[in-house]
Symmetry: C2
Subunit: 237 residues, 2 copies
């Protein structure tokens, strides 16, 4: 078993991903995948990820609940933005919801053809590590980044998950996986201080959206692993 | 002034590079840019970088001296491979040579339209930092990577150069620039041990090409900055 890390959806085509044998973990810490995990904890039945605003609007017109965000802000037509606190049990339990965000849902689309696509966040990291170990497959951690650019928070998560898997004997497959682990070792004593240097904290703060940062960085508040069903094009538990 | 880092030519389109105002430093530590710096030290007049084997063969047929490498090995038709030791003063002084390598020359092609493209390596890092500071422009360090994938050695160089510029007051522009600097701070006490973990050391060693590793990691063995002339499509001092 090997674990690899891809720092951007734009780099994904250059990495070896065996579509019959690799679990791809998609991560967007701030905030798409953290938010999806929160929605599943609150009982959402399924999340239909769509890459474009147009698709999300079409679902809205058909009566679906829709979460839609671009450049950290909620889209006007949508029921929810991209904050994990928006998706309360009262609003989402038992529902199918549609979801589109600046980076995370694009990353899902990029890897949709893989053997199995799992949704990862700090909030479900231990459940995810356990899931990957049980499956016994190679793992590729795909960072959503920011408009295809490298970002610290997704890469840090990749390092944390790679580290957990490596502790169980899974090999680090590449330079990227090793550097991500180094990032994790450096950040571990004070994750918040490490993350306070990121570009995205500035974006969230300047849009008065920093309230979810602590939640997005907290480990194991959720013990479930959402999985993308490529036939149904939706995410389920 | 800002310094940014792009970890792969495939990510370059997603970064803001002002073609009137940004110096792009292309780096391929193992070994294209280190080798170019060595060739200039040994008196080469110019290096014509070409992206494809076919172009290099066409130049060879016209009588040019040609350096050509793919997947660490010298191409059969070529006069030189990609080792800095191939380009001795006896062979290259006063000559125009043609050069194609797996990653470095592709990276040059990617950024060829920029305001100014400089060739960077550990061997000319201080001269390069001084050059960038004198120019007073923003700097983008473009890592050649390996087949568009992230690699440690080019990113480490990017961190070292960003660190030198940052010490002189140049701002780190992005998460990527900050992580590259962190890599440099971690590696600095023992660069060789840090680099011995890379994928590329394994490639060089298994092809009996590890003899140039020490040279490629040595600082300031050259005090010149090769610059790409976009009109002439060749690199000069």
């Amino acid at each position: 078993m090997k674990v690899d890390v891809c720092f951007s959806p734009a780099l994904y085509p250059y990495y070896h991903v065996d579509n019959d044998n690799t679990i791809v973990v998609v991560v967007d810490i701030f905030r798409a995948t953290t938010t999806m995990c929160a929605a599943f904890k609150n009982g959402v039945k399924s999340v239909i990820p769509v890459a474009s605003i147009e698709e999300a609007e079409a679902y809205k017109a058909k009566g679906y609940l829709v979460g839609a965000e671009r450049n950290v802000k909620r889209c006007d037509f949508a029921d929810f933005g991209n904050s994990p606190f928006d998706y309360t049990a009262e609003k989402v339990a038992g529902k199918e919801i549609v979801f589109t965000t600046t980076n995370g849902t694009q990353a899902i689309e990029t890897a949709a053809g893989c053997y199995r696509l799992a949704i990862g966040a700090f909030s479900n990291i231990s459940a995810l590590a356990e899931y990957c170990n049980q499956q016994g497959k190679d793992v590729m951690i795909l960072c959503s980044g920011w408009n295809n650019r490298f970002n610290m928070e997704d890469s840090l998560f990749a390092g944390a998950l790679a580290f957990l898997l490596n502790e169980k004997g899974v090999e680090l497959a590449s330079d990227a996986a090793k550097v991500a682990c180094d990032m994790w070792m450096q950040a571990k004593p004070n994750i918040r201080a490490y993350i306070d240097r990121t570009e995205h904290i500035r974006r969230l703060t300047s849009n008065h959206l920093a309230d979810s940062v602590e939640y997005c960085l907290a480990f194991d508040t959720v013990s479930l692993v959402p999985i993308y069903d490529k036939e149904k094009k939706a995410i389920y538990l």
